[in-house]
Every structure is written in C-alpha cells, then in structure tokens.
Symmetry: C2
Subunit: 501 residues, 2 copies
Amino acid sequence: MAEEAAVRAQVEAVRRLKQDKAVPDETAKEVAKLLEMKAQLGEDEGKHKFVLKTPKGTRDYGPKQMAIRERVFDAIISCFRRHGAEVIDTPVFELKETLTGKYGEDSKLIYDLKDQGGELLSLRYDLTVPFARYLAMNKITNIKRYHIAKVYRRDNPAMTRGRYREFYQCDFDIAGQFDPMIPDAECLKIVCEILSDLQLGDFVIKVNDRRILDGMFAVCGVPDSKFRTICSSVDKLDKVPWEEVRNEMVGEKGLSPEAADRIGEYVQLHGGLDLIEQLLQDPKLSQNKLAKEGLGDMKLLFEYLMLFGITGKISFDLSLARGLDYYTGVIFEAVLLHQKNEHVEEPVSVGSVAGGGRYDGLVGMFDPKGRKVPCVGVSIGIERIFSILEQRLEASEEKIRTTETQVLVASAQKKLLEERLKLIAELWDAGIKAEMLYKKNPKLLNQLQYCEDTGIPLVAIVGEQELKDGVVRLRIVATREEVNVRRESLVEEIRIRTSQR
Amino acid sequence: MAEEAAVRAQVEAVRRLKQDKAVPDETAKEVAKLLEMKAQLGEDEGKHKFVLKTPKGTRDYGPKQMAIRERVFDAIISCFRRHGAEVIDTPVFELKETLTGKYGEDSKLIYDLKDQGGELLSLRYDLTVPFARYLAMNKITNIKRYHIAKVYRRDNPAMTRGRYREFYQCDFDIAGQFDPMIPDAECLKIVCEILSDLQLGDFVIKVNDRRILDGMFAVCGVPDSKFRTICSSVDKLDKVPWEEVRNEMVGEKGLSPEAADRIGEYVQLHGGLDLIEQLLQDPKLSQNKLAKEGLGDMKLLFEYLMLFGITGKISFDLSLARGLDYYTGVIFEAVLLHQKNEHVEEPVSVGSVAGGGRYDGLVGMFDPKGRKVPCVGVSIGIERIFSILEQRLEASEEKIRTTETQVLVASAQKKLLEERLKLIAELWDAGIKAEMLYKKNPKLLNQLQYCEDTGIPLVAIVGEQELKDGVVRLRIVATREEVNVRRESLVEEIRIRTSQR
C-alpha cells in the first residue's frame, strides 16, 4: 500500500512537472517510466519495495569517480593557491531574501526549503551571491579568495553531458578598488592555466564587456527598457542559430526588425586587438560613451594578456552575453573545442567549462548604505570536466588506484591474528599506510590476491619462523621478490620502497 | 515597504516557531530581538534595509577559520588514508522516504525541501543512512570508505560550544562480513590516532554494546516494548543526573521504580577487562543470551585494543546508550576531559567529539530482499574540535598564514607594470606561488608592507637598472637582506629559499 501511495505521489509530481515550464521535454519520458513502474507494482503487490535512487539530477561519487575528482580539485586548488588566494566557506543555504532579485529569469530554478517554522531558506544557486553577502556582512573591501562548493539549480538535467541539479563550482574572485583590468587579466590567466594543466584539449576563452553590449544595443536602436531582455536573447547564440534569436527578439520581445538586423551584424564579429581597433573607429559605436569605455578597457585587457602570453587562447566575441543579471563589465566564457582523443570514439560535447566576469554592483545591493565593492571573478564548472575525464579513463587501459595503502600485513600460517594486529599498529603509529584482512586465519593466497586487486605494492608477512628470527618477510608484489627485513628496520624499508609515490 | 513586509514575515515566522516544539527556549529571545528591529525600522522608514546574516545555526568560515579547518581535515584524512580507506560522496539531499524511519525521536529535526513539483526531498541528517542507501543501491557488500561532508539538523544551536545546524561529519566505516571485533577495534584505534594527533588534551572513549544494554534492560524487568524508549532515557546520563533520568523513566515512561533502581545500579559501572569479567559472572546478566554475547565480544574487543596499545584510553561504560535507533552491537563515544591549556582562561566544555558503533541491519532496510550488510563505523564531529582550536589560536600569539604565496613581484620605480606582469607570468608558469599589487605604480614601501602583513617571505624587485643588467633583486623579508639573482636562476633560487614550506 505504501508503494501505491508512492506511485500516486510520483504521478501527481509528474502532473505538476508538466505545469512547470522549466522542465517540459523530460515529462513524456518520466510519465512512461512511471506507468511502467506502476505496472510492475501491480505484479509485486505486497512486497517491501520503494524507490532506491538518488534525487533527480544528482549522483553518487564512488571511489573511482572520487579519485578523478580529487585530481581535478588538486589542479584547480594549486592554481588558485599559486595566485595567492585565501579560501572561505559559506552555508549551503541562505536566507531566501538574500538570493531574491539577483538572478533575473533564472530565479525560478532556485531550490527553496520547506517552511518548518523559523526563517525562510533557499539552497545557494551559485557562490557569487553568498560571496557578496559575506563581504557586505563583514565589511570586507579587499580580498582575493577561492571557494569550492556545491550549488543547486532545479534545472533540466542532462547528466551524460555533465549537467546536474547538484554540482560543484570552483570560484576565484578578486574584490577591491584597483587599477583597471589588472585583476580581470589575472582571472583569464587562471582559466588558461587550469584548462592547460588538466589537458582537456584545445579551448578558447570568449571575452566581451557588458558596456560594449549595452552601447551596441543603444546604437542599434534598442530601447533602454529592453537592454536586459535582448541581452538574454543574445546569450542563446551559443545554442541556437541567429535566425531563431532574431525571431525571439522581434516576435516575442517586440524589437523592430531593423534594430534586430543591426544587432545581427555586430554579433557575428569576433577577433583580437584588430577588431577592437576597428570598433573604436566604428562611426556609431565610437560615439557611444559606454561602448567607448568598454572598448578602451578591452584594449588594455588585451595588452595585459599579451604580456601573460595567452592572447592565442582569447577571442573578443560580440555574441557573448552571459545569462546572469549582475555583471557590469568584462564577461568571459571558456569553451572546449572539438575533442580529439584516440581513446574516445564519440567525443563528448560539453560546451562551456568556465565563465565569469566583473560585477561591481552586487556587494552594494547588500550593504545598508549601498557602498560598492568592485569584484571580478571566475567560476570553473567541473562536472563537465569530470564527464570528459571519466569517459576518457573508462576507454583507456589505465587502472586508477582508489587507496594509498603501502603495505598489507599478512600471515603465512594460522593463529597469527594477534601478531598481525601488533605489527599493523606499529606501522600505523609510524605513519605507514597499512591494511590487513579482517579474518582470523586468512589464506596467504587470498592476501596476495587482495594486493593484486587493489594495487598495494608491498606485503609484510609474519610467520612463526620470522617471529623467532625477529624479522618480517617483505614481498614486492610487482616482482614477487621477497626479502627478510629486521623488524626494527621495517618502517624505514617500507618508506624507501614506496618513496616515489 | 519591503522591509515592513520582511519584518511581518519574521514575526509570523516567530509565531510559527512558538508552535514548533523543537525550539521552544529560543523563542523569547527571538521575539525580543525582532521587536527591537521593528522599533528601529520605525525610525529608519523608507531606507533600504534587510537582515544581513547567515541562517540560524550556521556560520561563514573566513580565511583564518579555514586555515584551522584544513589542518583538522588533513589530520583526519591522513588517518583514514593510513587505514586504507577509499572515499565516496553522496548528494546533500536524499528522497524524503530514504530518511524516514531511521532516526527515531530525532526525525523531527530533519530539514525538508519545499515541494516545488517533482520528488519530495530532505537534507541529509547524517552520512550513515546515505552510506547504507549507497551500498544497497549499488549492491556493494564489502567496502572501507570515508566520507567528509556537511549534515543538517534543525536542532537548538549552541554555537559557542560548537553546536550548529549545519556541521561537518567525518565518517569512516567498514562494511562487510568479517570475523568479530576486528573492524570494530580498528574504528577505536582511528579515534585514538586522530584525537592524539590533533593534541586536544586528554580524552577517553566510552564503549558499550546495544546487546549488553538490551540484556540489562531485560534482567532489570523492562518490558520488551519499552527497550528503545528507556535506552533514550539512559542516553541522557551524560547531560543530566541519574535522579532526573529515573524520574523520566518512572514518571513519563511508566517504568516500575524497582526496575529503574536496578538499572540505576548497572549504569554506574565503568571499567575495563576486570568489569567485563565481573559482569560475565553476574548471576542475572550471565543468564541472558544477548548480554552474554555482547560481553563475550566486549572481552574480545579489549584483547584487540590491548594489542593496539590503547586500552588506557578506553572505558567500558554501562551508561553509554547513543541516541540513534540503528545501532545493533558495539557503540562508543569519545569525550575530551577537562581542558588544561595555559592559553585559554576558561576551558571550553565541548563534550563528545566522536561517536559510532555497529549497525548490522541498516543496509537491509534498503535492500528489496532485505539482504544485510554488517557495518561498523565512526563519525568525528569537527565543529567542536574547531571551537577549541579557534579559541586556542585566538588566545595564543601564533600568527596563522592564510595564503601560501612565496614571492611578491614588486617594482622599485614607476612605469614598470608591464615588467611586473611579464615576470609574474614567468613565475606562475614555473609553478611559483606569486602575487603582485593590482596597481599601476605602487610605492615600494607599500609593497614591502603587504609582505609583512601577509607573511610573504620573499620580494622579487624589478627596477630599471636590474632590467638592464638582466637580474632581479630578491629581498628576504625577515632579514631585509637583498641579493641580485640572474633572471634565468630566479625560479630555482625562490624554490631553494622556500623549500622548507
């Protein structure tokens, strides 16, 4: 009966899901799956049964996935550390009002907590708004920090392509009043370093500036009131062709066809310093104050990127708009180019793996006196990077170790559990990573097999003769070589033999 | 007007809070605070204002706190790794039904998510139930894993004593069918290693067994149906005196005074192997099958702990009960003893810092066929450990560094921004941790001061003469010594001079 209630609840949930505009195209599949489940339930009536799964759009990370994940984190954290960042952490939920009015059209994707009495709470949607709240609350006007944590979006998941409802963001931000474009250039350098370090193949970082976009909208004849919504349309250009975006602008959003066509000409443009120079000469754009400011800063940015030696990876791209409301200056987004990987038959299409920009007004929204703290930052989205590395690893021969154990404490005969316990405690206390089988009398063959299976390189074997002689037999798993080591030298011997790891 | 709505919402929230039995004694304070806020609003009418805070029972971790936190994590993770554990991660929320019926009376503390269409979700309450769900879902019958993540309890926070609504748990568990007490002993060894390593002062690990408790209840004349609720009463003995617990048993829970008094005699007992031997001879307990099994295993456990050399830290304590429903065998809890620390004037009372036990039935609750996977594990609660270390650090003179920067790239004259950018990119690309000030023309004194403030040990100074000579002036901040280093040797020189870190 409990299971019937569960299915009824789920069918009801799907009905609600249908009404939810955020997730329309999954609905049909879900309904089919549920009807199938219901049919099965009819047969199994009465059995103990409930759905054993993680919530929609989430996943567990098993030991192998964690090993990949920690490699990625290591690369990212050492880059952030190399650039002198401190680290902070904030709660997974915020007061609901803290998130209100920060995300524009995306606000509908925020997870709210149930009102159980007390404050109204929401799960964080990104790490940027909590960061701004943290700065305002602690009156911090100057910090360079990173923050790696999970964020939550009630979005339509596409898990094979690394799009989840719970996912990690790795954010690096520089807050403070500084000379123009120096911190902005560092953020781009960081993206280059991390993506190169992770060997994800070729990539490009698209760069634009909200001021250039707004100037462009103005000279194309977009009314001020339509800037943000037209910006949202432009943001879709990486997924849909210009014709569709144009239709949305003219049809849905009521822009004049002439204005749309003028925008259409600009958003095709992408290039480097030459394009910036060309636009600075553009008869219309050069007359617009905002656009001129943005283009001037863009030129400065490219000069700094040249000194960093990374202009080859950067494309000034007038079609880049970014979805979020809070950007005020430079914006950027890193995309992986076509995957060429011999191990993977079908390349994974992953799109954007990092993005960010300048948001000079966000902290001021939290400050009681509206005091601004200029900020620029970058967010690395690692779920997509994981999907690539995970699939690459699966396709390859590489065997990934999920423990760091240096030595297995084993016994050659029966009745040696006590001796194994004594020896392993000695090793642990000396800082050696050691395991033993949790059996009283394990067979030596099973103990050796365990090492083969898990990649443990050494076996410390205690036997009656060895105990009498005050030695331990140390076996090197890879070569099957065995040497007797005096008990007092065992720790040192293990250290030497595993020092490369 | 927005602020009035906010206050109204909060007053309404407090009204609801009053009805919420889980948090009664904070209500008065909250109401007072809100009335005060409302009064202030009356004065400031019209100004932009809202509450700038983290949710109740949560906190931010700034760079200094994070530095302490990472030290603690390092100690814990290296211990878990030393014992051969793999690592996993699970989502922060689970299907609501996954958590249902696992926590007994504590279920009311679970955070639910709002029903926004789709599945009903709850934030995880601990890492043990998600672990059991993970095992059953993936049909894993054998794993040793750790998991470090935040859990959520809508409890009454006491933040100065390290009790939060969002807090970390560091769990190590061994799942699988093994010979008795070997994994259980390892869990206790792990607690000893971690608490010793963190130098938190003296501690003791209380140990008991649910089978001994149940046997004791039986021979004292507690009816079977009252075992769990009387167990909950016993669990309060670490916070309230016996008389109060006895009153609850007899008054609220309807136990006979005689039975309560018999329990009262047993729960005073604590000791070591001698006490186990004594109870094995106890005329009543020795007749009870469950108690006998538990005492036999307890004896075996103590033998193993002796081989591990840690019986000095272990106390077999019949008053230890543990709150959660799912334990089936050995249970334990580590408490810090009176803090003696010269730096801290008033010692922090923190109580339990780790706990755990055996739960052989939990995985079976998730398996469609009820297949059991025996498990034993330990959970380290680091928030309380943080409070101690944080207060100790504040009281001490120690200056904790929050970045790892090895060198500041500085300039001696104006107009050298480009040269600084070029040099710092060279250093980053060589893996050196380097910073620079984000100003076009910073004063040398300000650059040196920044190093003093943040603990950066070296300064690489570019000046016109140095550029001509192909050298960089390297300044050692601590000694104010300066040496000219050829540009091509700079990376190596920095590595050597910072190699101890």
